[in-house]
């Protein structure tokens, strides 16, 4: 279908373009901006004055819960949530049941996603069989089946020798390994950031050293094996500092942060709100400020939703027993906008962190608006306020610390491959 998006403020972070213009889409791709080319007739014209059109968002971590946890969420429900959030590509970690450690499972998941024909799904394969940290997966086979990288989700590899070998093996084929830096021994039993709040509430703590010790180990391994590592969910100021040094040194590392970590701290746990139970934990205000600054200056490359739908039975429990994770696909855009607003980050740069920068890490298509590129677009009203509630969320997961809060920025149209899939 030929579509003309009329009068939107088009922001393409990849090229730095930011202007009000018409955008023409044909055969699933961006055709042109400005004047409609000769012979082009739009079958649909979307009046988009006052709206912003940017590349469809790319979420570096969204759990869709399939296979195995369909009672928490399904591909159908979460794809809907993604599109409602303007997310047109998503990477899903391998911690499903069974774990994504076999090509057949990956193919099945890709097939399911293709038949839904909505957002693009890019699975991350398991780094080790069953995520047990012992035996490597058939990475080349998994890559052929569609995995774009290899990850342990938030399960640590206990054995550093296995980790070193996994990095070397991945490097042989040029794959990126996605690691959440958290030392499993230092984090053992911890449910909240180790600090005054956990001390007062009597919650066992995850110290910052759990992150920094893991980072030191990873940087040493990267240094000696030259493998490419993407660090998932940096959470502390000290972690940011180490990352900055590593990047200055030129190590092939990239990093992301979960969008809720840009806004909340351990104080938000309040009276044991299990919606604040996340991995890694919300840390101190100083940590949060460092994450915000690092994302702005590019030390942290991208921001993701770390979307994790959790069912009531697993969340309505005492804090320490509640399953970690919050829903986030639909909050990625508004919370990124709120971060940009608070820290005076230009919109072009802020949107880069959830589009082109994420695409570069994922090694996937999309993330830019240029003639010939796939017409994956997010068209949103930056001024529209809405209240986060179980009713306003499409995701089957309703647990988020932002519940009842008013946020700014509502997606009006989402296009995938030139089709309007959400409006």
């Amino acid at each position: 279908m030929n579509i003309t998006l009329a009068g939107a403020r088009i922001i393409d972070p990849a090229s730095g373009l930011d202007r009000i213009d018409d955008l023409h889409v044909a055969q699933g791709r961006i055709l042109a901006m400005g004047q409609a080319p000769e012979g082009f007739t739009a079958e649909r014209r979307i009046e988009a004055a006052g709206l912003i059109a940017c590349p469809g968002l790319i979420d570096l971590s969204a759990r869709l819960r399939e296979p195995g946890y369909e009672y928490k969420a399904t591909l159908e429900s979460e794809m809907q949530a993604a599109l409602a959030g303007g997310v047109t590509s998503l990477l899903c970690p391998p911690d499903t049941d069974p774990v994504l450690d076999e090509p057949g499972l990956v193919e099945m998941l890709k097939h399911r996603a293709r038949s839904l024909d909505q957002a693009h799904l890019y699975p991350l394969g398991a780094l080790t069989i069953g995520l047990n940290g012992e035996v490597l997966t058939e990475m080349a086979e998994l890559a052929e089946a569609g995995c774009v990288g290899f990850s342990q989700a938030n399960v640590a590899v206990m054995d550093t020798q296995v980790l070193a070998r996994a990095l070397q093996y991945a490097r042989s084929f040029g794959y990126t390994v996605w690691i959440q830096p958290q030392d499993p021994h230092l984090a053992k039993g911890g449910v909240a950031h180790s600090g005054p709040v956990s001390g007062r509430l009597g919650l066992s703590g995850v110290p910052v050293t759990a992150e920094t010790v893991a980072l030191h180990t990873l940087f040493e391994l990267v240094r000696s094996h030259c493998c490419r590592v993407h660090l998932c969910r940096i959470s502390s100021a000290r972690g940011v500092e180490l990352l900055r040094e590593a990047r200055r040194e030129g190590l092939p590392v990239t990093a992301d942060v979960a969008v809720h970590h840009l806004h909340l701290t351990d104080v938000d746990i309040g009276f044991f709100d299990s919606n604040c139970r996340v991995i890694p934990p919300f840390r101190s205000q100083r940590d949060r400020d460092a994450l915000c600054a690092a994302l702005a200056d590019g030390t942290i490359d991208a921001v993701c939703s770390d979307h994790t739908p959790v069912d009531d039975d697993a969340k309505l429990l005492p804090f320490g027993e509640a399953e970690p994770g919050v829903t986030g696909l639909e909050l990625l855009l508004p919370l990124t906008l709120a971060w940009a607003e608070r820290h005076q980050v230009p919109l072009v740069k802020a949107l880069a962190r959830i589009t082109v920068d994420a695409a570069r890490i994922a090694g996937c298509e999309g993330g830019s608006i240029a003639p010939g590129q796939p017409a994956d677009l997010c068209v949103f009203d930056p001024k529209q306020a809405w209240v986060v509630s179980p009713v306003s969320l499409r995701s089957q997961g309703h647990h988020t610390p932002f519940i009842e809060r008013e946020v700014l920025g509502r997606v009006r149209y989402t296009l995938v491959g030139g089709r309007v899939v959400h409006e």
Binding site: L201, G270, E321
Partner: protein, 316 residues
């Protein structure tokens, strides 16, 4: 955000923690307890304040002693008491915590006394129950044991009168102790100018400074000149491992002996929430000595729990 233990008038609806409890509420509870102390000395140890009310003891974690003190307090107020060992019944059959609560609430309970191994569990219950029901936290994880904190304050006030000139030391496994947290919060709320925490660094939680506490790793230094010593119980499973090498070494450095007690003020009192490990955290000569007020704590505990129950029952 309103504290979940207060109603919209700022009155105590549940007792969940000392943290954030206004000073006048604490004082009111202690004053009320004083009036109940006399009931326990009567031939007929009963007042009819909670007649017709049902108090459910919900112990998700075992504790005969604490449960008994609540049971006695409720009985002396003429309430009907139902003891439920929830640990061995519903939850082990896979019923969720909130389902259990809904079921018990449907039996027209008026008050839940809750003990749970997870910090914060009573908050969840309090936020879930309907308006007519009151929740008392009888100990949750490492978080709080507010009635113990209150009875400790009662004890200190009884023996020391003026709290605003005291030095108080809390000694031992503060990291895992809900009693320590409630005591520290009560002491600072009541204006005790100097609260000290004494223990090895492996047993001191983060954030003590923010709670207004000075920490000491040397017990002798920490005890110097204190007026009150609160000893904490060291759990058996923590005596040997990565937190501590042995009970013997612990006793040598952090056990209260007569010679260490001599460093405190001459009229210092010695407290312990019980049950004691003699020879691990405290020497028998001290536990049974003339400065020990450990058994008074138990007696006052009944009166304080009566006070809490009667105040809650009078709040909507």
């Amino acid at each position: 955000m309103r504290h979940p233990q207060l109603n919209s008038h700022g009155e105590l609806r549940h007792l969940l923690t000392i943290d954030g409890l206004p000073r006048d509420v604490i004082t009111h509870i202690l004053d009320t307890a004083a009036s109940f102390l006399e009931v326990s000395d009567r031939a007929v140890k009963k007042v009819p304040l909670l007649r017709g009310k049902s108090v459910f003891n919900l112990f998700f974690e075992n504790s005969t002693r604490t449960r008994t003190t609540f049971e006695i307090a409720a009985t002396r107020l003429s309430a009907d008491v139902v003891n439920l060992d929830v640990r061995t019944s519903s939850t082990s059959k896979g019923e969720s915590l909130l389902d259990t609560i809904d079921n018990l609430a449907a039996m027209n309970a008026d008050m839940f006394v809750v003990r749970h191994a997870q910090s914060g569990a009573p908050f969840m219950i309090a936020q879930h129950v309907g308006p007519g029901l009151h929740v008392i936290n009888a100990g949750d994880g490492r978080h709080a044991h507010p009635t113990q904190g209150l009875l400790d304050m009662y004890t200190i006030r009884h023996f020391k009168k003026d709290l605003t000139s005291l030095r108080v030391a809390v000694v031992g496994d503060i990291l895992h102790s809900r009693v320590a947290r409630s005591d520290i919060q009560a002491l600072t709320t009541l204006g005790v100018p100097e609260v000290r925490a004494i223990g090895p660094l492996t047993l001191l939680p983060p954030g003590l400074k923010e709670m207004g506490v000075q920490t000491y790793t040397d017990m002798r230094e920490g005890l110097r000149g204190v007026d009150v010593i609160i000893m904490l119980r060291l759990q058996n499973e923590r005596m040997r491992g990565a937190l501590l090498p042995s009970a013997q070494e612990y006793f040598k450095h952090y056990g209260l002996t007569e010679d260490k007690l001599a460093l405190a003020a001459p009229d210092a009192i010695v407290m312990h929430p019980g049950p004691m490990n003699r020879g691990v955290e405290i020497e028998s000569a001290v536990a049974d000595g003339k400065q020990s007020v450990i058994l008074s704590q138990v007696t006052f505990g009944i009166a304080v729990r009566m006070a809490v129950m009667s105040i809650l029952a009078g709040t909507r």
